[in-house]
């Protein structure tokens, strides 16, 4: 029987958000700290809870979005996007929190910045949406064990994003950006005849190791007039000499709710299970919002044979496709995110997006039969519970939550 149950972990160690002060030496606003980078004390502001707790707490004014997580033994590394200065979206960064498992729940430490915007160049405007994979990589004469792919742009609004790489020797170590140019470049004018429109660009990178060495699948979404997901075969053993293999558009066969002309697995995160040869994809499956933020209100998990990457139906045919996506488990929507015990949080969240599957360091499924999904929620613009003096407060209200899907 399919089940969804939430992993109530944040609340276990920080049940009363307003009271979660002190502790730790986090960066500004991070974790349970209210101290700013400059040393001045910031007021911790509650985010809006309509359902289950977040996996960690951070003051309103700091967005916590686009999670990805790898788990090595009893340690988990949760990468996500956050701003480093309160209510300042231009200070975007990729942060990591180290999670430890104890008492049946994961507890996350303080945030540490992995990647910040560059002074100049392709990622000087924003950095966001990162994923990490373990392997063997060399760059500039050094050996590294962890590779990060992240989106970035030189635009302050986050559009026209490219995807670049960074490496580290430990998953929470010092991250070194690879070169000064992105790996995946996106130029909106290349996909628009007029050349005046802006598109999200190359976003949602997701990494899966092919050989536990340097060969890696880079999954990502290219969002222009057309919106497609790709799987790019790359040999990144020597990052000074990247070998680029085939870049394959991912078919959407079997995905029934996207209409006939939308192939995109919005917010797609990919995980591979070598035992079953299934490729799992977490995606945003429904968007009904008509007011800001216009994001999804439901996430779900799909799976398909890995053959979907190579499915080329040749020749004239009237046959049904041989490989397709199928939905597994139940979708996570407002109802699913209702708090199980708190009567004040029975409606759940109406903005649920950017899901990821917690995976092993190589981008593989941890355990067949169940998977933990991390996803982002966000308050609605104009929510009366947000500070009346900040119209943009909802932009800094994202939280990351966790639920387990069994199938």
């Amino acid at each position: 029987m399919k089940k969804i149950f939430c992993v109530l972990l944040a609340g276990l160690f920080c049940g009363a958000l307003a009271g979660c002060g002190g502790g730790g030496t986090s960066e500004s606003g991070g974790g349970n700290s209210n101290s700013s980078g400059g040393g001045s004390q910031e007021t911790f502001e509650d985010k809006i809870f309509d359902g289950i707790d977040a996996v960690f707490d951070e003051s309103l004014g700091y967005y916590n979005a686009y999670p990805s997580a790898i788990q090595e033994g009893a340690t988990r590394y949760l990468y996500y996007t956050r701003n480093t200065a309160k209510y300042d979206g231009t200070t975007s960064s990729i942060a990591v929190r180290v999670g430890t498992y104890s008492g049946g729940a994961w507890t996350y430490g303080e945030p540490k910045t992995c990647i910040a915007v560059s002074e100049s160049g392709w990622d000087s405007g924003r950095v966001f949406m990162a994923d990490v994979v373990k392997g063997t990589f060399s760059y500039g004469g050094e050996s590294y064990s962890y590779l990060m792919a992240y989106s970035g742009t030189d635009r302050a609004d986050g559009n026209d994003a490219d995807i670049g790489l960074a490496v580290a020797k430990t998953p929470d170590g010092e991250w070194v950006k690879v070169g000064t140019q992105p790996l995946v470049t996106f130029n909106s004018s290349e996909w628009d005849t007029v050349g005046l429109s802006w598109y999200p660009g190359a976003i949602e990178p997701s990494l899966v190791s092919f050989d536990e060495g340097g060969k890696v699948y880079l999954f990502y979404e290219e969002s222009e007039v057309f919106k497609s997901n790709y799987a790019w075969e790359l040999d990144l053993s020597d990052l000074n000499n990247i070998v680029k293999g085939g870049r394959k558009v991912i078919e959407r066969t079997g995905v029934s709710d996207l209409g006939t002309s939308n192939p995109l697995l919005y917010g797609g995160d990919f995980v591979y299970d070598p035992d079953s040869d299934y490729l799992f994809a977490a995606r945003e499956s429904r968007t009904t919002a008509t007011a800001n933020p216009i994001v999804a209100d439901e996430v779900q998990v799909l799976r398909s044979s890995m053959d979907i990457l190579d499915e080329i139906v040749q020749g004239p045919t009237q046959e049904e496709p041989r490989v397709w996506w199928e939905e597994i488990g139940d979708s996570i929507d407002a109802g699913a995110t209702a708090h199980p015990t708190d009567d004040t949080r029975i409606f759940g969240y109406t903005r649920i997006f950017s899901p990821c599957i917690v995976n092993d360091p190589y981008g593989r499924l941890l355990e067949y039969g169940s998977l933990e999904l991390l996803f982002t929620t966000q308050a609605n613009e104009g929510d009366e519970r947000l500070p009346a003096d900040r119209e943009d407060a909802y932009e800094y209200s994202q939280m990351i939550h966790s639920m387990v899907i069994t199938y």
Binding site: N187, S189, E190, W191, D192, T193, G195, F210, K215, F226, S228, Y230, E233, L234, D235, V243, K244, G245, G246, R247, K248, V249, E251, R252, T260, S261, N262, P263, D310, I312, V313, Q314, G315, P316, T317, Q318
Partner: protein, 500 residues
């Protein structure tokens, strides 16, 4: 089995026509030249060719044999009508379904140079003579008057009607026009068809070879109108053109790797010895335009030699028309119409712009059962995304991507695009009963005779794409082979593949 218009060798036909062309250049100097009907522009009215032998010619056979060569610039088929006068009455072949038998000559001497051909009657009662058809059209007297038949023992006149324009039952949104016609007339005989349709006992009614243009009276159907076409005796240059086309038609397509190249935008080897400006003109006259005024040229570029340069010039854009423009051509080689066993179509493309351009590679299958020219493209019901595959020859990258209706070409792309036939579908409008497209690509049964390259002005104005080597590919391939070499990459297919 290969799908061919010409597929079955006639076993027992005996040909006695007075001027048998083909069989090598040596014959040319001696050959008596036939008559040629030519129409360079679009006819405003249908026209009629009338041959009246001196007096009534007695015949004892059961069918008429009309020997022609057609080089039509526009349509795949030229719709024509046939009738005879016997006694004081004119009888007409006006079947609206089914086929007429023919014998196609491929230029070789003797029986080996002949093969059975099926010519389609269209719904308007006209017989569609295929592009570059050279041979006999066999018209049984039993088929006269829409199958009512007639007892023909003598012939006093033979009529060939050339239709001005026709909205035939072809499955296309285009109005099919009968422009740019060169119809060579060789001879007319009465023959006896046996039970298998094989002709014998030729009784000559007319021998146009070496004849005078005045032997055939040309008239416009409209009252008091002057005919727009002309009748003349063929020249030696006409002969060279005919021979070259006929040789090219019967030559095999070139291959490269796993590709059979069905159009390379080069002069065929058969034309190499001629070199006249006219021949070059004849070759490239096979391309014709429709929709918005657009501009094409066959000039240096592409893979090697010549390529098709297709440009949409915004200065000539007519806002009152649909944005569509197209350049079209029929295949000059019969081999190019045989798509059996192919997995998909591929084309070399260059986009020199720093932004996306797009084009559609539409294919037209001639349904031998229904006589319909069925259109297929990437625009099917629901306008689903289609997947195409690309190999950039400059960067070496291979990738697949989605497109829709029109194939998108990334900025600066230079290389090969492959489109599996699984991505092709009949446009929704063409499957309505009005058009009757069956919507099934069946290359084992039916030939593909025409390609259209179409573009939209509103998305491509002032952009030129360069196309070269339109080919069929025959391999299962992978997109690159870095992680999996069980299937060859696109590059490997092109460089070292083969046609199984």
């Amino acid at each position: 089995m290969k799908a061919k218009i010409v597929s079955v060798l006639l076993a027992a036909s005996v040909l006695t026509g007075a001027c048998v062309w083909g069989g090598g250049a040596a014959a040319s100097a001696e050959a008596a030249l036939p008559l040629v009907y030519e129409a360079e522009g679009k006819l405003t009215e249908s026209e009629r060719l009338t041959y009246a032998p001196t007096g009534e010619t007695s015949v004892s056979g059961n069918a008429l044999s009309v020997k022609v060569f057609l080089k039509n610039t526009y349509n795949y088929g030229l719709p024509v009508s046939f009738s005879v006068t016997s006694g004081d009455r004119e009888y007409t072949w006006n079947k609206k379904t089914g086929t007429a038998s023919g014998i196609r000559y491929d230029g070789a001497e003797g029986e080996n140079g002949k093969a059975a051909a099926a010519l389609q009657w269209n719904a308007m009662g006209f017989l569609e003579i295929p592009y570059l058809f050279y041979g006999e059209i066999l018209l049984p007297f039993a088929d006269l008057e829409n199958g009512a038949g007639a007892e023909i023992t003598s012939v006093s006149e033979v009529f060939v009607g050339i239709t001005a324009s026709i909205n035939s039952n072809f499955a296309s949104g285009d109005t099919w026009t009968a422009d740019g016609i060169s119809l060579y007339l060789f001879d007319v005989s009465c023959v006896t068809l046996d039970d298998d349709g094989n002709p014998s006992g030729y009784e000559e009614i007319a021998d146009f070879c070496g004849g005078d243009a005045d032997d055939v009276r040309l008239s416009a159907d409209a009252e008091n109108a002057e005919p727009e076409g002309t009748m003349r005796t063929a020249t030696e240059e006409d002969y060279a053109v005919f021979e070259a086309f006929n040789a090219a038609y019967n030559a095999a397509c070139a291959t490269a790797g796993d590709m059979k190249i069905i159009e390379n935008f080069e002069a065929d080897e058969a034309f190499s010895g001629i070199g006249s400006e006219r021949v070059a003109s004849e070759l490239y006259d096979k391309f014709y335009l429709s929709g918005q005024l657009s501009d094409y040229s066959v000039a240096a570029g592409g893979v090697e030699g010549n390529a098709l340069h297709y440009n949409l010039d915004s200065s000539v854009y007519d806002a009152g028309k649909n944005s569509y423009a197209g350049v079209h051509f029929n295949f000059a080689k019969e081999d190019a119409t045989d798509w059996s066993g192919a997995k998909g179509i591929t084309v070399y493309v260059e986009n020199t712009a720093d932004y996306l351009v797009s084009f559609a590679l539409e294919i037209f299958q001639y349904n031998l059962e229904t006589g319909l020219l069925e259109q297929y493209n990437l625009n099917d019901v629901g306008q689903r995304y289609k997947t195409v595959y690309a190999y950039n020859v400059e960067t070496g990258e291979e990738f697949s991507y989605h497109t829709q209706t029109f194939t998108r070409v990334p900025a600066g792309f230079k290389g090969w695009i492959r489109i599996p036939f699984s991505q092709y579908a009949a446009p929704a409008w063409s499957t309505s009963p009005t058009y009757g497209n069956e919507g099934v690509l069946d290359f084992d049964k039916n030939p593909v005779v025409k390609i259209s390259i179409t573009r939209l002005f509103n998305a491509n104005q002032d952009t030129e794409i360069v196309l070269d080597d339109i080919a069929l590919y025959y391999s299962d391939f992978g997109v690159g082979s870095l992680f999996d070499d069980s299937r060859p990459s696109i590059r490997e297919c092109i460089e070292s593949g083969s046609i199984a």
